[in-house]
């Protein structure tokens, strides 16, 4: 069988890649893609802790589903913001959205 550490390391790596995407991408949609990767990494952890702990405690799975709902809400609102900004300012580059900087 696969030891728990493999899953955790995989999810840590996925989280780091997502973090890199969030920090480095210029396009706001791509930043949201990075956030999705990070949420998935968290979910892998939750599900593997469910499987490797006591399977009759459903907390891991329940939290994973809640994370699905959070991810869906985040994507819906985030992309709506991006589209709204695009229609007003005609750009999706996060660096150029600097109206609130001052």
């Amino acid at each position: 069988m696969i030891p728990l550490s493999w899953f955790l390391i995989l999810s840590a790596a996925l989280f780091s890649i997502g973090l890199f995407g969030v920090l480095s991408r210029r396009n706001a949609v791509a930043i949201l893609l990075g956030i999705e990767l990070m949420l998935n990494a968290a979910n892998i952890n939750l599900v593997s802790f469910w499987r490797y702990g006591d399977v009759s405690l459903m907390a891991g799975q329940v939290f994973a589903i809640i994370v699905f709902a959070v991810a869906a809400s985040e994507v819906a609102v985030g992309l709506a913001l991006v589209i709204s900004v695009y229609r007003r300012r005609n750009t999706v580059i996060a660096d150029e959205l600097d109206l609130l900087k001052w």
């Binding site: 589903i65 699905f68 709902a69 869906a72 809400s73 994507v75 819906a76 992309l79 709506a80 589209i83 229609r87």
Partner: protein
């Protein structure tokens, strides 16, 4: 449990291989005589004007958005529906409240005229 997914994995692989095989046979047999006219974008014989990236209505996005929210909602409802047979009336009411809260969102979008195709 592992076995079920193994079977579906096999299904996945074979289901990919059969169309690929059909395309391969066709690729071997079919003639290949490309020319620029043939490969141009098909618009009933008209010259293509502009990019293919036409501006789309944001309405498409609204519908996808409402769908996303309801899709996640039904995901919550499936475990509820499965275990409904062994649950009390209270649990049913909880599920109904859950659905009603979401219906309120649909009603909001409807009242605001966001479901109209304008």
């Amino acid at each position: 449990m592992q076995n079920e997914w193994l079977y579906i994995g096999l299904f996945f692989v074979i289901g990919l291989l059969i169309p690929v095989a059909a395309l391969l046979i066709s690729w071997i047999v079919s003639p290949k005589k490309p020319n620029p006219i043939k490969q141009s974008t098909y618009e009933c014989g008209m010259e293509t004007v502009g990019e293919n990236w036409v501006q789309f209505k944001a309405q498409y996005y609204i519908f996808a958005l409402v769908f996303l929210v309801f899709d996640v909602e039904t995901v919550f409802l499936f475990p509820w529906a499965v275990s409904l047979g062994s649950l009390s009336l209270f649990a049913v009411i909880e599920g109904i409240v859950f659905i009603l809260i979401l219906i309120a969102g649909l009603v909001y979008a409807w009242r605001k005229g966001m479901l109209e195709w304008v």
